[in-house]
């Protein structure tokens, strides 16, 4: 049956309309992808961080900078990064004394009675940006994902707030933002690193204990750091492919 002019117009306009909708949808999708900064190519980076335990002085600069830069709620139970103070009685790796008052935001009060024979050090913590993230695995809608440049991110416009990912993270790095009712976590200052800057915590670290590194950049100093230091990741038995490497990490740290 030959197509009438009327039918042709109908079909044609429907097709045009659909194409327009598809283009709009594509734009939405592209806007949601991490690759927004000009000249930044996802495939050329693989982000990681090194933390030198020996260099951390527990000043809390990183915690304050992170809360300010990323608008993290100020309450003492919401942190994208925090610092723990360890005191390990001689040889007793199983019973370290740990504290983290306000996540180290205000620094650490001096110990009134320093333990004799105990060693003491600070451990900054943040999302480990795991290559095999248990949090990403469990998200029922894929709102949290590993970006191609190795950063674990959250699409807060998609997150249901079911909190399964908070349960699945072995390191306690996630929390539910009481303002948005969606999950919140370290983005490795994605808005900064995609513009060639370092993270807020690394930027403000006075001793260079925390350093951002790009494992795909052959000239990045991270390669030398990893070569010349004994490094560990937290909870290696979890096999999460953690990319936060600690130098001189004590066996008592968990």
């Amino acid at each position: 049956m030959p197509t009438t002019r009327r039918e042709l117009l109908q079909k044609g306009s429907a097709l045009l309309l659909l194409t327009g909708a598809a283009a709009a949808a594509l734009e939405e999708v592209l806007a949601g992808t991490p690759e927004k900064a000009e000249g930044y190519r996802l495939q050329e980076h693989w982000w990681a961080m090194t933390i030198d335990i020996g260099a951390c002085i527990g000043c809390g600069n990183c915690v304050r900078a992170c809360k300010t830069e990323n608008d993290v709620p100020r309450e003492p139970y919401y942190f994208r990064t925090w610092v723990e103070r360890y005191r390990v009685p001689e040889g007793d790796l199983e019973h370290p004394l740990v504290d983290s008052p306000n996540g180290g935001y205000d620094g650490f009060p001096e110990l009134s009675q320093p333990d004799k024979g105990a060693k003491s050090f600070f451990v900054p913590k943040l999302c480990n940006h795991c290559a095999h993230s248990p949090c990403v695995q469990v998200c029922p809608v894929g709102a949290t994902f590993e970006s191609p440049d190795g950063v674990v991110l959250v699409d807060t416009t998609y997150c249901l707030g079911c909190r399964y990912c908070v349960q699945a993270c072995p390191y306690g790095c996630r929390f539910i933002d009481p303002r948005s009712h969606t999950v919140n976590k370290c983005t490795l200052c994605y808005h900064r690193i995609t513009r060639g800057l370092t993270t807020a915590c690394c930027e403000t670290c006075p001793t260079g204990a925390r350093r951002l590194g790009d494992l795909k950049s052959p000239t990045d100093p991270i390669h030398e750091f990893l070569r010349t230091h004994t490094v560990h990741v937290l909870k290696p038995q979890m096999a999460t492919g953690s990319k936060v490497y600690y130098a001189a990490l004590d066996g008592s740290v968990r």
Partner: protein
């Protein structure tokens, strides 16, 4: 939150101080467990031809449906963004255990329960559509889905189909609750949850709670209707409750012995928790009052010759204790799994609010709701023969 912060013992990662899953998430496995258990009891008659439990067959099915309809509500109420929950159907993340909930749920609701109930009641629905008037007539006509053939051949086909559906239904019930166990059992970050035994423990505890619920419902409904209790039926249900309970308790003991003997890095922390924060809910309520006592009572009915009256009292007591025990078990799994730090160095506290979105009040409403739905269902689709009201002392065929 400030008060919780003050009650933290030892060290917790700062983000761990707030509990993520509340009493509503305790209700979720409790309710789905009742559904699966009630259905498995119903299937005893259809699949395994245990004729003695026939008086409870329809009641068990309607109970399962009433609870299944409520099952997603606590989850929905708990979500930070309930309006986005449909995304779990539209864009499910296939590696997520939780993403499959919607599909398992729909399968169980539509393919198993609703279809089986429809086939079982079809003749009555058609007859009622013919005999009733007005809105009720319209409702029954809609429920009949336009099929009004109730010839003997047609009913025979119904029966065959219903049996096939029950046969599909049994593994589906296993899937539904085993799956709920997997949601917890597969979280490797949490040693209190992470065990391959979790799905099977959940399954048997589901059977225990579902059988206990139907047993209690049958006793209460019979007393309300003054029909008398069919003791052969009640004895059989109690026997199955006893068997399921023994398997459930053995599995939980196996888990316990394994943990104590292996004593891995988490053991000291969890052991301390069980002896302090969880002592009342785990040792006293779940194990002593909710498991050992009802098991002992049920054992008594198996070995001693008790009068009918005494048996009824024992079954009633054991049934209630069992329900309390299984609820405590869900509580200890869900809440207990969040009280200790993943650093194994400290403990937080769960503060149960009352009239908040995730408080005690909505939890109570959600537990009453299935009974309201069941009352409506029973009015619409009476699970007993129309002529046995108040006449028979035993309803067993």
């Amino acid at each position: 939150m400030e008060t919780i912060l003050q009650q933290v013992q030892g060290f917790m990662y700062p983000n761990e101080i707030e509990l993520q899953w509340s009493i509503l998430i305790v209700l979720y496995p409790f309710i789905t467990g009742l559904v699966a258990g009630a259905f498995i009891l119903a299937s005893l008659e259809k699949v395994f031809r245990v004729e003695a439990v026939k008086p409870t067959y329809r009641l068990a099915l309607l109970t399962a449906l009433a609870f299944l309809l409520v099952a997603p509500l606590p989850l929905q109420l708990h979500l930070g963004h309930p309006e986005r929950s449909l995304e779990m159907y539209l864009t499910p993340h296939t590696s997520s255990a939780m993403a499959m909930f919607g599909f398992v749920y729909l399968w169980y609701l539509m393919v198993v329960l609703v279809l089986e109930i429809w086939l079982d009641y079809r003749e009555e629905i058609v007859l009622r559509a013919r005999s009733s008037r007005g809105a009720l007539r319209l409702l029954y006509r809609i429920m009949s889905l336009g099929v009004d053939n109730i010839s003997p051949q047609s009913l025979k086909i119904d029966e065959k189909l219903a049996r096939i559906i029950t046969i599909i239904g049994v593994p589906s019930a296993f899937l539904l609750h085993g799956y709920v166990g997997f949601i917890f059992g597969s979280v490797k970050a949490n040693p209190w949850w992470s065990t391959p035994l979790m799905p099977i423990v959940f399954l048997f505890s589901a059977m225990v709670s579902g059988i206990a619920l139907v047993m209690l419902m049958y006793m209460v409904v019979s007393s309300w209707r003054r029909t008398g209790i069919d003791m052969r039926c009640l004895d059989t249900i109690a026997r199955y409750l006893f068997y399921a309970f023994i398997i459930d308790f053995s599995l939980e003991l196996l888990d316990l012995v394994h943990r104590i003997y292996e004593a891995d890095e988490s053991f000291k922390s969890l052991d301390f928790m069980v002896h302090t924060k969880l002592f009342t809910s785990q040792i006293v309520i779940q194990i002593v009052l909710g498991t050992l006592l009802p098991l002992g009572l049920l054992f008594l009915t198996q070995v001693a010759r008790l009068s009918e009256r005494a048996r009824k009292t024992v079954y009633g007591t054991a049934g209630v204790l069992t329900m309390v025990g299984i609820f405590a078990m869900r509580w200890n799994v869900v809440i207990g799994g969040q009280l200790f730090s993943k650093s194994f160095l400290g403990y937080t506290t769960y503060k149960l609010d009352f009239a908040t979105r995730e408080g005690l009040l909505p939890a109570i409403v959600l537990m009453i709701l299935p009974f309201v739905i069941l009352a409506l269902l029973v009015r619409l689709l009476p699970p007993w023969e129309p002529n046995d009201a108040g006449t028979k002392t035993t309803a067993c065929p």
